[in-house]
Amino acid sequence: MLASDILHLSLHNLMLHKARSFLTSLGIIFGVGSVISMLAISEGAKEEALKQIASMGVDKIIVYSKKPSVFDTTETSSEQASVIKSYGLTFEDLAHISHFDNVGSVVTLRDARKRFMKGVKNVDVKMVGTEPAFLEAGKCEIVQGRWITKLDMDMKNPVCVIGKNVKRKLFSIGAGSVIGREIPVEGKLFKVVGIFENNHGTQFPEIKSPNDMIVIPRSSSDALLGQHVFKIDVSSFQDLKLDYDVFIVAVDDVAFIDNTAKRIARYLDKTHAKKDWGIRIPLDLLRQKERTQNIFTIVMASIAGISLIVGGIGIMNIMLANVYERRKEIGTRRALGAKRRDILTQFLIETVFLTLTGGVIGIGLGVGISELVTLYAHWPVRFSYSSVFLSIAISAVVGIVFGTYPAWQAAKQNPIDALRTE
């Protein structure tokens, strides 16, 4: 029997019972639907993970200062007026950590803790002192003007480079180019020399996004604004002293990033009396997220597996009934010259067609499920050609696995018995 004839015949037989064929393949539809949505969601998670890696870099450890929850009360007693409080990462910490094994470079950030106003409103921007290397370490790009230079550092120039949101937040609409404008801070004027942006959604602990930063040379920050940070509240006045807010530590070998982070943590634990620091490994966050997604993937995979097996058994059942119902047809075909092989292929192809059709509908269902998940759980989804191919392959395999037995039953029918039935 020619292949084209087998295909035509099988399709023809399926089209005779459209409703039955559809109900029969429901299991496959749901199974493939789960497979597609599962893969779309885990693919989406992977993509987001990659984006996160891109936002911080896998080779980075972020060490940051954290205001301890309870300050030592011994020295301040009842009056909290004007006592210098010191906490966070220090010069010594930097010197030590820089010399650890596997530590490549350390970029520091220090928030000057200045308030900025636009008219009478506070605006949420931070003035941060840092080194030229921050441009690369913070995954930022210059969009206009220039970045701070080594010369700026050496000369303690009163210049600043602003994040892309700062222009909107700080200057009036229609300000035109802000390059060359000056930002006043405590009587000093910082000249805007450039605008930069970060397109990776990078967020630093306590300081947030680089796009909201006014970046000034670290040396200018110290020289013009001083080491101390004064904080004035309604009831109290605090003089805080801290050397650094953030270290962006780049490691040489990512394989040992956990060890290096542990070492830094152990060192800080020993040297700091209070827990006034925190440590974050972007890679670790990723892993955590991946674990959550994995649970989801396992659940979906189980649903997919069970649906496919149950669906497959359902199809086998229907095909067996089908074979019984069509004994006379099979007998007549055999009498007219069909070989066992022809009957076997006919029924097998019929089953595979059934599962493939189910698979195609299932792909549609899977896309629907994924879209719903995005809508309600805000998980990113991503469809890949490979998941479509995989689903088609799974459908075909289910068809072959569960279609073989009924097809074999049909093929081994004795044509005499088959002919006798009316």
Partner: protein, 238 residues
């Protein structure tokens, strides 16, 4: 081949068939021996239970003898594989059934094509042949109809057209008029006679209808699994 078969189409040599039901052995055919030559129109007659159907199954290669030998066009079929038997059924035998056994979901043209499909003939050749045969059966205008839209007589004509698709060595008809009224029966018998005369087709027809006795060249009577008479009509042997 040591023996010469000449124009023999079928030769049965002491063919027996015994069914085993549990411990019981039921002999259905006992030492059947006959030959059919090219161009003969043979009626196989007998009451029900005489072994007609079993003989038909053996002739049609749907079943194998318990003992004895069946030569089909000089070939001893005993040791043929299932595939080989299917091939012989397909190319050498034209089956015609009492209840037509047409495929209800295929149209006339497609029904006639079925044996040619299994003979792996190309679509074009099949279609041409199917149309030619349908026209010959007087159904050229019914090509796209389904069997349930046709009368019994028309259905049997299609079945006959189908049987002729691969130009078989002989036609094997099982009570072909059993489901038809008298008038259509006559028409179908006419058709068989016409095939017999114009194409000198070899036809074996199994029937229990004694009225048909005169039409055959030769009648083999079966009773209790044995041939009790095998008569040729002298005037037809020209």
């Amino acid at each position: 081949m040591s023996e010469s078969f000449g124009d023999e189409v079928i030769r049965f040599e002491d063919v027996s068939k015994t069914y085993v039901l549990g411990t019981l052995r039921v002999p259905v055919l006992k030492e059947i021996r006959f030959t059919v030559r090219q161009g003969e129109f043979v009626g196989i007659m007998g009451a029900s239970g005489s072994g007609k159907s079993t003989l038909l199954n053996l002739l049609g290669l749907l079943d194998v003898p318990t003992s004895g030998k069946y030569f089909l066009v000089g070939q001893e079929v005993e040791h043929f594989s299932d595939n080989h038997l299917a091939d012989l059924r397909n190319r050498s035998i034209g089956f015609i059934f009492q209840s037509f056994n047409l495929f209800p979901h295929l149209n006339v043209e497609q029904n006639i094509e079925v044996p040619m499909v299994y003979a792996e003939k190309s679509k074009r050749v099949r279609r041409e042949k199917a149309r030619e045969l349908a026209a010959k059966m007087g159904l050229g205008h019914r090509l796209k109809h389904r069997p349930n839209e046709l009368s019994g007589g028309e259905c049997q004509r299609i079945a006959i057209a189908r049987a002729l698709g691969n130009d078989p060595g002989f036609l094997l008809a099982d009570e072909p008029t059993g489901n038809l009224d008298a008038k259509t029966s006559d028409e179908i018998i006419e058709l068989f006679l016409e095939l017999h005369h114009s194409r000198s087709a070899t036809i074996l027809m199994v029937t229990h209808n004694p009225e048909l006795r005169p039409i055959f060249d030769r009648v083999i009577d079966l009773r209790d699994g044995r041939i009790i008479s095998d008569e040729r009509k002298e005037e037809k042997r020209c």
